[in-house]
Symmetry: C2
Subunit: 368 residues, 2 copies
């Protein structure tokens, strides 16, 4: 399984693994793919610094990437305290009431009040500054084109820029803004996602940006057959996120590993929901009592980004600490239906590659 | 492009074309695929009789299929008049008000008051009785498993039964009920559709039903690349509906051909919506001022099947007669974004096959 992206990045397989876990990212890179570390969780740049140093030391000199969350237009931004003042009381009391109903206890005094600040532009920019002191070969931006100075700075460092797109017109504007690689994220993906499914979106984006811009297929990809399908649609590689949430290396992220494992192993592909409750923008999450509560009659409408994330930040920490498989707040794609056991990354990677090769041989027979 | 389905049905390509037009169905069968005539539009069984006789005479002795709309459980069913009494006044006045606002004129006296009755079980059963007097090789049921006696009767006639499924568990129960072929209809499809996208649904269904039950991939398929992707996912063939709405042979169906051509050629893949306004069950339609009106605050919630279809039946006839590209009520999948010109079926078929072969050669190179 080789595409021009393998040569461009010095990787064996054009499999890009988006993950918040440095252990997963390192294992994917060591296995011949490109591990891409999600930075949004790092409120503390010193922690990111330590983690990237660890990645430098644990990837056998193989390349890796990072993922930041940065809008192109620099927003007017207050402190977390200023922003919190904009959250209506109705929303705060709904969250509190819902957690009570779902049996999610409060946190011990002094713990976990802080939300994820990586959604704030200033924090995302500090992630970039830290990353540039290390050796990422690829920086992906979850919110589309990053600001022009960021693109220029990365290019000066020889780093390629990727941006997520959920529609062909967005992909085109990313290319005009200087983005090198488009991640065409279909409706079935976990996390932020549009309404066009990968089967339609991937060729739409591939044809819109033309042969000189590599496209990664994202959304609905968790097996070698799905990688082959994405490449049949014109992708030069794939961007996978959910699958790694079911690996041994992911264990230990957060403190609700057990609940999460129970929840994802029993989920079917119908057990996700695209909702604004996680960040304020539509994102696909595991369907649990938490997401269902927001879908009930009388529930408030989620707030816009970044307010919604601040609203639910403490709730997420409480939910995580409660470790209850019925009450989970986790972005995951429709492939969760096939995440039925926890395996080491190297084994997952080997299976992806061999199933891909097997699929191409099967298509050869159909082609005759 | 050959799969075991080609031998089973005596066709050259495992391309199943669902269409309300006998001209499209015949052209697909003549070009080596399997044309499948949608029967729901035939209120008058004598008309269906005439059309199937025409199909018998115009398919160069190639096989064809028919599609019926029949729930497995036989519902208690009143006449159209009884059912109409169950429709709330609020809904009737909303439809009338909306048509007025959208500039859709009333029909001339005495014309087009009747809705599509094919959604009623008794009518669907009469379609079957007529079909059995002709030579269909395949009968597909849009509402899942047909009643057992229908399956048995078809099998006695040597006819294979197909059923649409939007989730693996539905596919499994169809197989238990005696269905021969599963049509895995993904979220991106036109018409009735579930929430799981083809990229995830197709392998889910293929693995659930096992190697002895052929699966047709449906939803998001309008090109040879998409056929290759669907087969990479494990489908033995494809079921395509929307694509044929943009063929020369389809022209002349209904009386708003011009408006429809304008509407679909300008639509992007983002210009569809999954809504209950067409039949009462979620179905993907072209997004127009008509579907948008139902999505506005204060619009009534669509009624359950079959009431919603009766409610909007006259509206559909008025909309069709008005021939306005901004006000269309038409099921179509997300591939509408690539339906940009009207072409003859034979040309479309030839392109599908050659792009499929080209795609397999490209994958061979990636596989190395």
């Amino acid at each position: 399984m080789r595409s021009p992206l393998c040569d461009a990045f010095g990787i064996d397989y054009p499999i890009f693994a988006f993950t918040p876990s440095e252990h997963v990212a390192a294992a994917v890179s060591r296995a011949g793919g490109l591990g891409v570390l999600g930075c949004v969780r790092f409120n503390d740049t010193e922690e990111l610094e330590r983690v990237l140093t660890w990645l430098d030391d644990n990837t056998d000199d193989k390349p890796y990437g990072v993922d930041i969350v940065m809008p192109m237009k620099i927003p007017t931004e207050g402190t977390s305290v200023d922003l919190k003042a904009m959250i209506p009381d109705e929303h705060i009391s709904f969250v509190e009431r819902t957690l009570l109903q779902l049996g999610v206890p409060p946190l011990p005094e002094g713990e976990g009040r802080e939300g994820v600040l990586g959604w704030l532009h200033s924090i995302a920019r500090s992630h970039l500054d830290v990353a540039l002191k290390h050796r990422p070969v690829f920086i992906a931006n979850a919110l589309g084109s990053p600001p022009k100075d960021v693109i220029d700075k990365c290019h000066e460092h020889g780093i390629k820029i990727g941006a997520l797109a959920g529609a062909a017109k967005h992909a085109l504007s990313h290319v005009e803004n200087g983005v090198d690689i488009i991640i065409a994220q279909g409706y079935e993906a976990g996390g932020h996602t549009g309404e066009v499914a990968s089967m339609v979106l991937t060729p739409d984006v591939v044809d819109a940006v033309g042969p000189d811009v590599p496209v990664l297929g994202a959304g609905g990809i968790g097996s070698g057959r799905q990688i082959a399908a994405s490449m049949a649609l014109g992708a030069q590689g794939v961007w996978m996120g959910s699958l790694w949430l079911g690996t041994e290396e992911y264990r230990g992220m957060g403190n609700n590993s057990e609940a999460w494992e129970t929840a994802f192993t029993r989920a079917t592909s119908s057990d996700t929901v695209r909702t604004r409750v996680y960040t304020g923008k539509p994102a696909r999450l595991l369907k649990t009592k938490w997401t269902e509560a927001w879908a009930e009659d009388g529930a408030p409408s989620p707030l816009p980004m970044p307010l919604q994330n601040l609203l639910v930040a403490e709730a997420h920490n409480r939910i995580s600490a409660a470790n209850d498989p019925d009450v989970i707040s986790m972005p995951v794609g429709q492939i969760v239906g096939r995440m039925n056991e926890v395996r080491p990354v190297a084994e997952v990677m080997a299976d992806l590659v061999s199933e891909f090769e097997e699929t191409v041989r099967r298509l050869d027979k159909i082609s005759g």
